[in-house]
């Protein structure tokens, strides 16, 4: 679908990340946008397409002084930005937009300028059939299928802890990561205060403030920009939707939307698992990389825990994964997908805090609104 005809020409996060009480949600969008535009060597007048999730795209474009002719307000939770990239690529290819800005900003920790989360309305499906049972926070909702996944495979909480330990190794050298202290499996299993068995504190993502933004255009226009040698190309993508409420996902031990979105991303990119140098797996909680490694087909059913425990995803391993430290250790504003994409771009540009040497092909897998939606991107620093 994309074949490298679309390029990311600007990418940036907010200067500060983590605890940023001096910025509202909309200002986090704007700061990230202005940094991404500067990164691309462009200005607001160069942008004719606007995409974001949370606020409406007009709220962000007007704040920035942009008059877009193409809008995408797709809001499917934390993987919305994977879908924005995919939609923007289609729009650029169709001539509906020339240069698209995609923004994220969330005051997830300080809660400055945040609007109320509408998904909790009492008469929604979740409001009627999940929230009355106390399943209204991410740690008491997203986590509920995990014991089934482990049970079906003869796996245990230790496998959840190994995910945390592996990713902490990536976070330790990263000055922007929220949690950087070395940690052992035993410490993860006993970390307190308790949250929601089988999940301990360190198996749950950090809660932070921050933002990120991307600028996309055609590969032809990218070649004329001052940043042409840092362009990252979109090779393939996929998206998929399933149940809007966690309890109705078709299979508690495997997420159909991961399988479908990643299969389409691999097929459209024309690459196979062995080609992937670097992997980002959206990790709001420690069970998600286990689901993703199996559902994306990097390992067989029941092999995800042993694969991570073997060190394969750690620095120096065969499949470097979540190399910023992930949502578990780097940052998680609420919709982490933008940060997963940003790390893939840094790796492909050779600018990451913990750089994977020679990374040319990255797969970014996102998840949204618990087990409701998924988005996948295959990115490369080489145009095929």
């Amino acid at each position: 679908m994309h074949q490298g005809n679309i390029a990311v020409v600007g990418a940036a996060e907010t200067g500060e990340i983590g605890v940023v009480p001096g910025a509202s949600m909309i200002q986090l969008h704007a700061e990230a946008a202005r940094r991404a535009l500067a990164d691309a060597g462009l200005g607001p007048a160069d942008i004719d397409g606007m995409a974001t999730a949370g606020p409406m795209p007009m709220e962000v474009s007007h704040y920035l002084g942009i008059s877009p002719r193409w809008l995408d307000g797709t809001m499917v939770g934390g993987c919305s930005f994977m879908l924005h990239v995919r939609h923007a690529a289609a729009a650029i290819a169709a001539g509906a937009a020339d240069t698209v800005l995609i923004t994220h900003g969330e005051s997830g920790r300080s809660r400055i300028g945040m609007s109320r989360y509408e998904g909790l309305a009492g008469d929604s499906a979740s409001g009627q059939f999940e929230v009355p049972y106390g399943s209204l926070m991410p740690y008491s909702t997203f986590t509920v299928p995990a014991l089934r996944f482990l049970h079906e495979r003869g796996m245990s909480r230790t496998d959840l802890a190994e995910v945390v330990v592996a990713q902490r190794e990536w976070a330790m050298p990263n000055p922007r990561a929220f949690r950087r202290k070395p940690i052992t499996v035993e410490e993860v299993l006993s970390s307190s205060p308790p949250v929601a068995y089988p999940f301990t504190r360190d198996m749950c993502c950090v809660v932070t403030d921050g933002g990120g933004a991307l600028v996309l255009t055609s590969a032809e226009r990218a070649a004329d920009l001052p940043t042409a040698d840092r362009a990252v190309y979109l090779l393939g993508s996929g998206e998929a939707g399933e149940s809007p409420i966690m309890s109705q996902m078709a299979d508690l031990g495997s997420f159909g939307a991961f399988r479908r979105s990643s299969a389409e991303a691999f097929a459209t990119a024309g690459v196979d698992h062995a080609d992937i140098d670097h992997l980002m797996c959206y990790d709001a909680f420690a069970h998600l990389p286990l689901y993703m490694l199996e559902d994306l087909g990097f390992v067989g059913r029941g092999e995800s825990g042993a694969f991570i425990a073997s060190g394969a995803t750690r620095p120096g391993g065969e499949l470097p994964m979540n190399t910023n430290g992930g949502g578990l250790s780097y940052t998680h504003t609420g919709m982490y997908g933008m940060f997963a994409i940003q790390e893939a771009i840094r790796q492909l540009r050779g600018e990451a805090a913990a750089q994977v040497q020679g990374a040319e092909l990255s797969l970014v897998q996102g998840v949204g609104l618990y087990f409701a939606a998924a988005g996948s991107l295959v990115l490369s620093n080489r145009r095929p």
């Binding site: 009492g122 008469d123 009627q128 009355p132 049972y133 399943s135 209204l136 309890s247 109705q248 508690l252």
Partner: protein
């Protein structure tokens, strides 16, 4: 358990909540393909037929998965650990629920354990919750 957020029924879900007030668990069943489904809709998500009915089910099922939530948020009693569970009914549909009258300990909550529905007051409504059969 009497504290917490009550549901806000919509026209399509009202029969479910009205029956729960009478300690009855109603699940929709498709007359065309004979399958039960949940959550309530006036047509079958499996075969798209609108020939559907409400079926009073036994409320027997098994424990599929759970978390022991040590951090409930108000108005739920924040001082007591809460078992948030997924139960699969014998009819094949899955409900999110609470396991009540069980110790909030992993050893007391074996997966696949048989469970049976019970009803607990919540505001003007009653919530279907479940008990372990062996504990009854």
């Amino acid at each position: 358990m009497a504290t917490g957020i009550p549901p806000t029924p919509t026209p399509e879900t009202a029969p479910f909540w009205d029956a729960a007030k009478e300690d009855r668990l109603l699940i929709q069943r498709c007359r065309a393909c004979s399958r039960h489904y949940f959550y309530p809709r006036p047509f079958c998500p499996h075969c798209a037929s609108a020939d559907v009915e409400w079926d009073e089910v036994s409320g027997e099922g098994r424990l599929m998965s759970y978390v022991i939530n040590y951090r409930p948020v108000p108005p739920i009693d924040a001082g007591a650990a809460q078992i948030i569970a997924l139960v699969e009914l014998d009819e094949g549909v899955r409900l999110l629920t609470n396991i009540v009258d069980a110790a909030p300990e992993p050893d007391a909550l074996p997966l696949d354990a048989p469970v049976r529905v019970a009803f607990e007051p919540r505001g003007d409504f009653k919530l279907p919750v479940f008990r372990l059969v062996d504990a009854q």
